[in-house]
């Protein structure tokens, strides 16, 4: 019985570790895309002349920022895939293994 509880506790502890790890990456990543996208919207809504500044030929800053949001979304998606595979998946596998151990002992 004692063993059961330990394995289960170990599983829950590694899950908490995983959640912390996820927060450490996902909180800033979420903040980045929200700031960039909602920020762009707010600029367009309240700072029209600024958004209308010409950057490349006839293309203004607004369109450049829109293009940047595309690139950012794709970049974050690839970064997430990489981080999840290398940071989250091993922790999740450890938690799952600990939990399965608790199951078999019980």
């Amino acid at each position: 019985m004692v063993h059961t509880r330990t394995s289960l506790e170990a599983a829950h502890a590694s899950i908490r570790l995983l959640v912390e790890e996820k927060l450490r990456y996902l909180a800033p990543m979420t903040a980045i895309f929200l700031t960039c996208y909602i920020g762009l919207t707010a600029l367009a809504a309240f700072a029209k002349p600024f958004v209308g500044l010409k950057v490349v030929g006839h293309v203004n800053l607004g369109f450049v920022l829109i293009a940047f949001n595309y690139v950012l979304s794709w970049g974050l998606a690839i970064a997430y895939g990489y981080i999840a595979q290398h940071k989250f998946d091993p922790l999740a596998a450890r938690a799952a293994a600990a939990s399965r151990e608790a199951e078999t002992v019980k």
């Binding site: 908490r16 996208y37 909602i38 006839h58 203004n60 829109i66 794709w74």
Partner: protein
Amino acid sequence: MTITLGIFTVILLITVGITYWAARRTATTSDFYAADSGLTAAQNGFALAGDWCSAAAFLGFSGLTALYGMDGAFYAIGPLVAFCTVLFLIAEPMRNTGKYTLGDIVRSRMQTRTSLLAVIAGTVVVNFAYLMPQMAGAGVLVRLLTGISYDWAVIFVGVSMIVYVAFGGMLATTWVQIVKAVLMLSAGAIILVMILSQVSFNPLLLFEQAETKYTASYLLPGNYLKNPFDQISLALGYVFGLAGLPHVMTRFYTVPDAKTARRSVVWVMFLAGSFFLCTTIFGLAAADFLGQDNIRAVDKGGNLALPLLAQYLAGGKGSFGGDLMLGFVAAVAVATILAVVSALTLSTSSAIAHDFYVNWVKHGHVAGKQEVWIARAVSIVVGLLAIGLGILAQGVNVAVLVILAICVAASANFPVLVLSLFWRRFNTGGVIGGMTLGLVSSVLLAMIGPAMRGADALWPLVNPTIVSLPLGFLGGVLGTLIAGRDINNEKRFDAFLLQVHTGVERK
């Protein structure tokens, strides 16, 4: 017209063939609701693209850009950014925790009947609010493209979706979406190359021509979205609403595990995202080559800008190439509608058959074989209801419903989902509080806003998400606090977290 009908008949025959094939492989509940979770990441990515790009995205974004410049490009980026939220917070937990519906997640977290009922309400309201304007849009579009009457167009679309869903379940729906996505992306790629070849492969020229033709204000924001807070509301609705749309989120049940769900999101972000990006180029090209007046002359809202552009690029009106491209794009538009309404019908039927009838009314005591037949029957009823509502909607301004669907998804479904997945103390009271406050405030504010009442609006925003989304979260928190602590529920949270993050379910 004849070419459109011809191409469309071919697409229709393909989808009927798919349904016949899928029907023979659909026997269990897992087949019917989730295509037996057997899809690959790429397949689900294409299906997600087919599911998420409605006619409003396929035709609407280009049209908006053509007529209103930068605001159209704003409309197009939101649906891509929205997938960041889904990827970071929802897709994998969804796959790990649920089986067939959005309700599954809240049910396994709360294990109470009342919370399940609240989630069913959220799903049904969002889906019908989304389905009705799709049916009305289908009626208008099919009439415009083929010449058959509005009522018959709605009936035709409705019967097709009933056939796909009732016989082929999720497998047929999925492949209809994949076929549609492939057609949509091919049409987009062809049009893109044709546009670029006209401007010696320098898209910057499109901006120059547009500015010369329509002055610099055309390339500035605010031509379509007049109220700045509406603009922010729209953005919030996209980023958080997608994660609360049951007909898109249930797609994650069609893959075997969380890793595949994750990869399928990356797929859809590149597939659909590239298309959204192109709609801005299509819109500018349409404004440059066709002229806004000519676009408006055919459809005031600009919805036919893309088919007309395709016709122009391939040789113009009367030429064989022009008619062929017009027919192709028009047929893809109809396929687009079919893919979306099928997904909505399936997801509504799943919520009613699986969540409401089987799990709520019957406490889960229904044999699998029987449940499949119930779900099929429900899908027929839902489909007939959608046809009826679609016919009633003719001439009625249904735009408010589109806003409502995404607003309720963001303000009611999303807070409940997020709090269920991440907050230990969240309880049944919170589910009810969040769902109620989010749903009621969305509906109320949309009804008294300018979309419904025009100049008599009691409240200035067309899209209330900026207010109703915080209210939804507030309702979730207040409901939780008022209901008091549920110690058993909090104790179960560790086991729930284990399942959310690893997929391991402990009995």
